[in-house]
């Protein structure tokens, strides 16, 4: 029997690796690409994550990779955001925007 958890673990590891590779490129090419990330966050993510439906994401002091991995795979009821929903560049920009929001002491780090 194929274990979903195994597939998930492999995917997580690969995504994290992809992110590390990707982010280096992104930093070099688009150092100030925060506008695009915030724009996407406000348009889509905020509809859950700023309304009490999903957990607050701003000020969590989480690494960018956490946002990327959870967005791609989903988590509990949170849908997975596929490559056709949000491309890698925009997702990195969203993660960078969120990771850069000022730390809020009321928000724990656990996603």
């Amino acid at each position: 029997m194929l274990k979903p958890t195994t597939t998930r673990a492999v995917a997580l590891a690969t995504l994290a690796l992809l992110w590390i590779g990707h982010t280096t490129t992104a930093v070099a090419q688009e150092p100030a690409n925060v506008g695009k990330g915030q724009q996407y966050f406000d348009k889509v993510c905020a509809k859950c994550h700023e309304t009490g439906v999903g957990p607050v994401l701003k000020g969590r002091d989480l690494p960018e990779a956490t946002y990327i991995i959870i967005a791609r795979l989903g988590r509990n009821a949170m849908p997975a955001f596929r490559i056709t929903d949000i491309d890698d560049d925009t997702l990195v920009a969203v993660a960078r925007y969120l990771a850069g929001t000022p730390k809020n002491p009321d928000q724990g780090a656990t996603p």
């Binding site: 029997m1 194929l2 274990k3 979903p4 597939t7 998930r8 492999v10 995917a11 690969t14 995504l15 992809l18 348009k43 889509v44 509809k47 859950c48 309304t51 009490g52 439906v53 999903g54 791609r72 795979l73 989903g74 988590r75 509990n76 009821a77 949170m78 849908p79 997975a80 955001f81 596929r82 490559i83 056709t84 929903d85």
Partner: protein
């Protein structure tokens, strides 16, 4: 149960060897571009995120293809025919609680049409639109707003990320006067299994301009045949938009008792049929309401099982919710709305029960706010609060249809609640009132991260289908784990006819075999 295989692919289509699949993948890459053919775990895993109570592995695709044009869709079906590979088309893949983006069977290829996202046409005089599969309601809403077009959308609750084509093809419903979405559909372009591009209605007439305004064309009208089915891949869909009314007046009517459901339906039906209340009215139960104003079961209980009535009573009190909460709206000129408002308020007064809440009284509070948004075509995702009721990401919609009669609705609620509670789950339901029918929509919510609760939810869902069928009820739509089961509810003659059509139109059975239980 899925057998582990030793392959570089996450899954393989049934009856296709790895070597054959290698060849097919090469062909797909040549037709679409190598970067538009996805087979790796990191790319495929997001397509396997399901909410149904079955093993994810049962719905894992073998590959995902990203098409950007009708010609590419034609190329895909030709290759699928050559290699007898089944393909599962998705538009935005946001059919939450019905299967999301994952294929009905392990190993099918997902054809993701999200990149085909052009708003091809919006006619502000005739109030029509023509869109590609990947267009989302949010995208269309932004387009209308940016261009200041006086038109209103109708959509399902996951409006911000779902889209009109997919929702209509699965016969989803919304909350405005145009809430029966398939009724408002006008003109389809469909890629058939043999690669032909077929247009319904007036779409085949050279030089025609009436494709989006006249549904029927000449001869058989086949649009319905392509919905909830697997006879073609819809690549364009036309539909009607409602002119934005000068006045929009949403309101709620709260009823105190569980037993009021029968009277509510009897009160509302005449107003709905006569179009005094023109929109798809909702009658929401307490726990639906509670969840969508960010109430969690864990706020009240930490023990497993069905939530006791005493706790539900307490939630009503704490959150100021009714046992049943009706949401409806009036649309039109000030004069029209004034007249209809008087009819509505007089009806409620005469009934001697029900407390009307206006937008002015509700202010910015939930769930009134998101209900008003849904009834006026403003996208939001507030209804995802349902998933927080128990947490754990498990959701399966159980949606039996009934007549819009009070006695029918009361009977359905009692039956559903007793089965759900027996399995330790809660009745979290609402009725969506069509013109003469009710879509009784119940979210079977469970903790999908708990294997035991997953088993329970599966058993519960099966029992709901069985017991409702014994009473003459069937669902109008179901998740991809129960397609075959529900197809049986509708009888053998229908199934045989559908199979005959399938064999004629798709002799290799490449298009979504298993959708609605239809196969060659």
């Amino acid at each position: 149960m899925v057998t582990m295989m030793n392959s570089k692919y996450q899954a393989l289509p049934k009856g296709v060897s790895e070597a054959q699949f290698d060849e097919a993948i090469g062909q797909f890459a040549a037709a679409l571009g190598a970067d538009q053919v996805l087979t790796s775990a990191e790319h495929l895993t997001p397509y396997t995120k399901i909410m149904m109570a079955v093993d994810t592995a049962e719905h894992t695709p073998s590959a995902v293809l990203l098409a950007t044009s009708v010609e590419q869709v034609q190329a895909v079906v030709r290759i699928c025919n050559a290699y007898k590979i089944p393909v599962w088309p998705i538009s935005t893949g946001r059919n939450f609680g019905y299967g999301s983006a994952a294929p009905v069977e392990r190993g099918q290829i997902v054809l993701d049409l999200k990149k085909m996202n052009k708003i091809l046409h919006v006619d502000t005089e005739l109030c029509t639109a023509l869109v590609e599969p990947g267009v989302t309601y949010q995208q269309l809403y932004d387009y209308l707003e940016e261009n200041k077009l006086p038109l209103m959308l109708s959509f399902s609750a996951p409006s911000a990320i779902a889209g009109p084509l997919g929702n209509t093809m699965d016969r989803g419903v919304g909350y405005t006067p145009y809430g029966e979405h398939f009724l408002m559909q006008c003109g389809m372009e469909v890629v058939l299994a043999n690669g032909d591009v077929y247009r319904t209605g007036m779409g085949g007439v050279k030089g025609d301009k009436a494709w989006q305004v006249f549904k029927w064309g000449f001869g058989p009208t086949l649009d319905g045949m392509f919905t909830q089915s697997n006879y073609g891949i819809c690549t364009k869909m036309g539909f009607w938009l409602m002119p934005k009314p000068p006045v929009f007046k949403p309101f709620e009517i709260k009823f105190d008792n569980d037993d009021d459901i029968g009277d509510i339906v009897e009160l509302l039906r005449p107003l709905r049929i006569a179009q005094i209340i023109p929109n798809a009215v909702v009658i929401a139960g307490t726990l639906w309401e509670a969840s969508t104003c960010n109430t969690r079961r864990s706020d009240y209980l930490t023990t497993p099982g069905a939530t006791p009535d005493s706790v539900i009573q307490q939630i009503r009190k704490d959150k100021n919710l009714g046992a049943w909460n009706v949401y409806a709206a009036l649309y039109g000129t000030p004069e029209q709305v004034e007249v209809n408002w008087k009819i509505v308020t007089d009806t409620i007064k005469r009934a001697g029960k029900g407390k009307i809440v206006t937008q002015e009284e509700a202010g910015d509070t939930q769930p009134f706010k998101y209900r008003a948004q849904l009834m006026s075509g403003v996208p939001n995702l507030q209804e995802f609060g349902l998933y927080n009721w128990r947490g754990g990401g498990g959701s399966m919609w159980f949606a039996p249809v009934s007549q819009a009669r009070g006695s029918e609705c009361g009977k359905q609620v009692q039956l559903a609640k007793s089965i759900l509670n027996k399995h330790g789950l809660d009745y979290v339901g609402e009725f969506i009132v069509g013109w003469r029918d009710m879509h009784h929509v119940i979210d079977v919510l469970y903790d999908r991260s708990n294997p035991e609760e997953m088993k329970v939810a599966h058993a519960c869902f099966s029992e709901l289908l069985d017991e409702f069928e014994k009473q003459g009820y069937a669902v109008y739509r179901v998740n991809t784990a129960f397609q075959e089961r529900v197809a049986n509810s509708y009888g053998p003659v229908k199934r045989k006819l559908e199979q005959t059509l399938k064999r004629a139109l798709d002799p290799n059975g490449i298009l979504a075999p298993g959708k609605s239980g239809i196969r060659i």
